[in-house]
């Protein structure tokens, strides 16, 4: 196997056109987010929508730009659940108390 052998299959996936399309979608989602800010929605609704849109954007970046879609499925199964698990642990530690503080200042 030559030095470039491991990258020979990379040619097949991800044409310039595909990358430009992914980029256009990322830009479109950014403008949707900007529109939401312009509308000044309720903070809870705004946060929910923004987090969903950001997760879509990050999925696009990770799958196409970072090429994870074309790696062995085992890599994604190793990395992504581990990250999600740890983030959930941080949320479990922080957020019940955050919700309590919010409740305290909304009901004086």
């Amino acid at each position: 196997m030559s030095a470039h052998g491991s990258s020979s299959e990379v040619h097949a996936v991800g044409s310039t056109r595909l990358f430009v399309m992914v980029w256009v979608w990322l830009a479109v989602i950014t403008f949707i987010e900007l529109f939401l800010a312009y509308e000044r929605l309720r903070p809870d609704l705004m946060l929910t929508l923004l987090v969903i849109l950001s997760l879509v954007k990050s999925a696009l970046i990770v799958s196409y730009f970072m090429h994870l879609k074309y790696e062995k499925i085992g890599l994604a199964l190793l990395l992504i659940p581990a990250a999600i698990f740890c983030i959930c642990m941080i949320i479990i530690f922080f957020m019940p108390d955050g919700a309590r503080l919010l409740q305290m200042r909304l009901t004086p």
Binding site: S7, H11, T30, R40, S54, S58, V62, H67, E71, R105
Partner: protein, 213 residues
């Protein structure tokens, strides 16, 4: 499992025999992926700490007016996204062994990073002028300054390190010192920096859009 398979050029007699590469990627790329996951957790913890401080403070500042602050941060987002596109094109050029084009795309990507940092610094200095510092705000909520400058500062540090990384990579790859796989690993880092901003921008800028401006 008696048949001999090859995984990335290494013959292995069994999947459990060792000497193989279970993910069929080189170890530099795997190392970068592990770093990216751990750095994801650093930024998640910081963004969640920001959200917690925000929930706990009744008079959280919302200093960003649509024009100029949000307009500027949106253009910074688009610059970073564009630099991700040039990076990905650089990686494809590297896999085609087109050295001259790869170097050009990498330098263009680094230029995007520099433009992002410069815009971000002008934004910072404007905020300094309005009385927002890492330890105080006009509203008397120092936690806003601490978390805002902490998170955006750490991200800016990542961008600056990325710019240095890309410049070293473009010089080294141009001289034939690095392979296309090394370019791909630097690409992973750069896309990750972009990815982090995709959360910092909505959660810090868009959630704090001024209610009056």
């Amino acid at each position: 499992m008696a048949e001999t398979k090859t995984v990335v050029g290494v013959p292995v007699s069994s999947p459990w025999g060792g000497g193989g590469s279970p993910f069929a990627i080189n170890s530099k790329k795997f190392g970068m992926w592990l770093f990216i996951v751990s750095d994801t957790l650093t930024f998640s913890a910081l963004l969640l700490a920001y959200s917690y401080s925000r929930l706990a403070n009744p008079n959280w500042p919302r200093p960003f007016e649509i024009y100029p602050a949000i307009a500027k941060s949106t253009s910074m987002t688009l610059i970073l996204l564009a630099s991700s596109l040039t990076m990905v094109l650089g990686v494809s050029a590297a896999h085609r062994n087109d050295r001259a084009k790869t170097v050009r795309w990498l330098l263009l990507t680094a230029l995007g990073g520099v433009a992002f940092t410069v815009l971000h610094l002008t934004e910072w200095f404007k905020l300094f002028g309005e009385g927002y510092t890492p330890w105080s705000t006009p509203q008397g909520v120092p936690l806003f300054g601490a978390t805002f400058f902490g998170i955006t500062g750490l991200h800016m540090t990542h961008v600056s390190i990325g710019v240095i990384y890309l410049i070293i990579m473009s010089i080294g790859y141009g001289k034939g010192k690095f392979t296309s796989d090394d370019v791909e690993v630097s690409g992973l880092y750069w896309h990750f920096v972009d990815l982090v901003w995709m959360f910092v921008f909505p959660m810090i800028y868009l959630m704090s859009v001024s209610l009056t401006g």
